[in-house]
């Protein structure tokens, strides 16, 4: 148990800080939890948690399986709209609607995966972009305005009071935090599993993975389905938070945002994309506050600097340094122990 705490100290401290955050803010400012700064920061963090899950779902493809998609927003939007339409117009209960979202996202990602994963790299990215663009056009189309609200989006999703983020902000905060923690643990489980290791093999060298006996298409479709379901669940939470689903959830900006979060935080590190979501979201908010509408220009500059000097993202670069350091010391100790002057490896 002690070992567990030592190995995961950083994660546990982060989690503890996030649990304490609303109460600490309330204590410091003297405001109650559902007013002023505590209320506002919880709202900001809820968005961070939602985007952290979405970024992580994107990284299952990019960072863990080596698949570049430009259409991941399709799943975010699918989650948001499916929930909105079923709950508002179908009078479905929220749990039933979530089950429907999971099934629809699974089917959608299965079909897209089987149809498009035969092409690689940027070609796959283009095919996914096409799928997402079709979905974007469909939700904006006036033909379905009755259901989707067209360009305005679907608003006023009815939820029970207990889930209403305006009335029960702190409860919603912990719901979103628990959701993010759960997805983190799940993805960690997946990535360490036999299938997850095959994803890594595909990312590293797909041809060799095939030659040692893996039918790589099966594993790529598997990763796409899992990524799609988690992405859609993030969309569900986003719809519950905003009580709406807008075309923007299907937009290419949503995908690019996830991609930036993964790169800034550290693609392929699990916690990295989640951290990236926090950095991007908070930095975006602060820059906007200080600089007004030119903030994106400044952010672009920061982004370029990050890519230049922190090439594997925050977590990835830190781990790479750490790994080199450890490998270097192991090598030195080995040479000392064996009495050889020169390294053999």
């Amino acid at each position: 148990m002690n070992q567990f705490i030592r190995n995961n100290l950083g994660y546990l401290l982060l989690l503890a800080a996030l649990v304490i955050l609303p109460y600490a803010l309330a204590l410091i400012t003297g405001d109650p939890l559902n007013k002023g700064l505590p209320l506002f920061v919880q709202g900001l963090m809820i968005q961070v948690f939602i985007l952290a899950v979405f970024a992580l779902s994107y990284d299952i493809l990019m960072g863990h399986t080596g698949i570049l998609s430009f259409g991941h927003a399709l799943f975010f939007g699918t989650g948001a709209y499916t929930l909105g339409i079923l709950v508002k117009y179908g009078q479905w209960s929220i749990p039933a609607a979530i089950v429907a979202v999971v099934i629809i996202a699974a089917l959608e990602s299965f079909v897209i995966g089987v149809l498009s994963l035969r092409v690689h790299g940027v070609y796959f990215a283009m095919v996914t972009l096409a799928f997402a663009t079709v979905a974007f056009i469909l939700v904006e189309a006036t033909d379905f305005k009755k259901w989707t609200g067209a360009e305005d989006g679907l608003h006023g999703i009815p939820v029970p009071d207990a889930l209403n983020p305006a009335l029960h902000r702190t409860e919603f905060y912990f719901l979103a935090l628990a959701f993010a923690v759960m997805v983190y643990l799940l993805v960690k489980l997946f990535v360490d599993s036999p299938s997850g290791r095959v994803w890594a093999a595909i990312r590293e060298n797909e041809a060799r993975a095939t030659s040692i006996g893996y039918n790589t298409l099966v594993f790529k479709v598997q990763a796409t389905i899992i990524s799609g379901i988690i992405g859609a669940l993030a969309g569900v939470l986003n719809a519950l938070w905003n009580l709406s689903a807008t075309p923007q959830t299907m937009g290419v900006d949503t995908t690019i945002n996830a991609l930036l979060m993964c790169i800034i935080g550290g693609s392929g590190t699990i916690i990295g994309p989640m951290l990236g979501a926090g950095v991007l979201q908070l930095l975006g908010y602060l820059l906007n506050l200080w600089l007004g509408s030119v903030w994106q220009l400044v952010f672009g500059l920061i982004y370029i600097l990050l890519v230049l000097f922190v090439p594997y993202g925050i977590i990835g670069t830190w781990r790479a340094k750490n790994f080199e350091w450890r490998a270097m010391w192991r090598d030195r100790l080995q040479r000392v122990a064996t009495g050889t002057g020169k390294s053999s490896g």
């Binding site: 599993s193 997850g196 594993f219 490896g345």
Partner: protein, 254 residues
């Protein structure tokens, strides 16, 4: 005699547009033998390997394994049937550890690949097999290094380790000593001989350098411009004038 043939190429041909890489190659590999394919650069040796392992589909001809036509099978199926290959150009998983490179090859042959909910480390048989193979190919102590940081000679050993971990019956080795320091070559060749003896394996070995295979082979096939120039025991091949011409050019005999 024929029932001892484990792998057979039957009039294989492969065109790349106008270029004929393999024109007409037939060969029979006897079960348990060490069969070498030699030939100058561009003779079509690697293309032949790509045909045998299913990476390329032949323009004409068939590949027969244990009496069964496997020409149309995809590479991953062929791997499961028991034909494994290594590559001339090192072809590993660069940002995974040496151990994980080998473990993945062991896992590929099992039935747990679609398991998402248990840590891979819990499947001990693959890890144990990987550790045995790492030791066998002489990489013990380097399990936790990333494949990308290995020196070239060690990468060649890892290349062989990945192949051995999946325990194939037929090993297609594409210039296993390519780029190795010459003093390391005998060591690797004796490892290959040992693998064959221990596991009663069949080895089909592509080599560029004739000297390397002379002492270890049962049969040697010489390829030249996409065809079979000669085939026979090492002594016959060594004495064959056509082979000498192919390797050394006409001048040698004039």
């Amino acid at each position: 005699m024929d029932d001892q043939i484990i792998l057979q190429a039957d009039h294989l041909r492969k065109d790349f547009g106008g270029l004929v890489a393999v024109e007409d190659v037939s060969l029979k590999v006897r079960d348990g033998s060490l069969h070498s394919i030699i030939g100058p650069n561009g003779a079509g040796k690697t293309t032949l390997f790509n045909l045998l392992s299913g990476v390329f589909k032949p323009t004409a001809g068939r590949v027969i394994y244990r009496g069964r036509d496997i020409t149309a099978q995809p590479p991953h199926r062929i791997a499961h049937l028991g034909i494994g290959r290594s590559y001339q150009i090192t072809n590993v998983f660069p940002n995974l550890s040496v151990f994980e490179n080998v473990r993945l090859a062991a896992q590929a042959m099992g039935r747990d690949n679609l398991n998402l909910l248990a840590p891979a480390a819990r499947f001990k048989s693959y890890s144990e097999r990987a550790l045995r193979v790492v030791e066998q190919v002489g990489l013990k102590g380097k399990e936790n290094l990333l494949a990308s940081v290995l020196p070239h000679g060690d990468k060649r050993k890892l290349e062989l380790g990945i192949l051995l971990a999946s325990d194939p019956q037929v090993l297609l080795l594409d210039e296993p000593t390519a780029g190795m320091a010459s003093e390391q070559v005998p060591q690797l060749m004796s490892l290959i001989a040992e693998i064959r003896k221990q596991g009663n394996k069949t080895i089909l070995l592509v080599e560029h350098n004739m000297d390397v295979v002379m002492n270890v082979s049962d049969t040697i096939t010489v390829m030249h411009y996409g065809t079979v120039l000669a085939e026979g025991a090492p002594a016959q091949i060594g004495a064959n004038e056509q082979v000498q011409k192919a390797y050394l050019g006409e001048l040698y005999h004039s």
